[in-house]
Symmetry: C2
Subunit: 166 residues, 2 copies
DNA sequence: CGTGATATTGAAATAATATTGCGCAGCGAG
DNA sequence: CTCGCTGCGCAATATTATTTCAATATCACG
């Protein structure tokens, strides 16, 4: 990851691919204002350097029968690093847990979970999560609806900031 | 969205594209066990029927200088639908807010925010979010680290469940 | 300011992929 | 059965990705 700095074209590429990850390279090249070959080379470089971690289809989980989304705020008994890591490792093993973020403040972790129905989630909650080693408290909140769900980076803010600093 | 039901091949397609959204159609066809043309037709159908909402590059926001991620728990004064919608609309206008979910329980919304640095976020927090109409309380937690961040749907769970029900 | 070393570009050629057209097989209803 | 429907795969064509290479731009240094 020899992070060379990004020029405006690179940032445009990232913004375009974040918005539409399946854009063809010719279309992308047209939009960022260079020809196809250097455009593709830039994309490959961005991938290698880790600016692009991967590409994913955005699949509608409700359409697939995952009716329930839950945020779970988890407090642990011990915040020693080894215990934090152990909990994270357990989260990685639970398929219902889609995201696991360690936080500052009173709560140690927030988990975003997805389940086909409430009873599946309840079972997971009582038999797995709450029952896990070192878990002191779990507060859950059902997602009623989602008003906004954008991927990654607000490029608008980034460009604004770069202009201002220049 | 004339939601025809999905067969195992469709689900495999969704799982593969969720894992790698830029897979070529021939590779995808190989993996799901059919030839390229019908595979592409299925993908198009899945897109049209809304099972696939889009494709996105997963861009590393830290590499781009967005050092700060925050979860904000927001309580409103009024939970009347018109006030809820008004708040959601405001969230859509704030670029630092990447996700906005309405919850049940004591907290009305959870927001996932991204900012270049702490002071940018603090400014947003005090001058925009906390100051917004109808906002009663905001509790924020910095993300210290992210142990897991998977896209969308746990297909493992879905398949398990289908097998069991069969 | 030059000037050479180093990158980066774009046109053209080639390889790979996507997409269309069409005939065939499987299957349920009459 | 056999018609009608659906979905498959082969083959042909259109697009796109990728490599090659000569020309241009960029930059450190004298």
């Amino acid at each position: 990851m020899a992070s060379t700095k990004l020029d405006p074209i690179d940032r445009k590429i990232l913004a375009e691919l974040q918005a539409d990850g399946r854009m063809t390279n010719v279309e992308l090249a047209k939009r960022v204002g260079i020809s196809a070959p250097p455009c593709l080379r830039r994309v490959r470089t961005l991938e290698e350097q880790g600016y692009i971690r991967g590409y994913h289809a955005d699949v509608d989980s409700r359409a697939l029968g995952f009716e329930v989304q839950v945020f779970a705020m988890v407090g642990l008994m011990s915040q020693a690093e080894i215990d934090l890591s152990a909990f994270e490792e357990r989260c990685r093993d639970w398929p219902l847990v889609r995201e696991c973020h360690m936080l500052n403040g009173e709560v140690d972790f927030v988990l975003k979970c997805a389940a086909p129905d409430l009873s599946t989630f309840q079972t997971f909650l009582t038999e797995e999560l709450t029952a896990a080693d070192n878990v002191a408290s779990v507060k859950t909140s059902l997602v009623i609806r989602c008003a906004k769900d954008l991927p990654g980076v607000p490029f608008e803010v980034l460009e604004e900031r770069l202009e201002r600093d220049a």
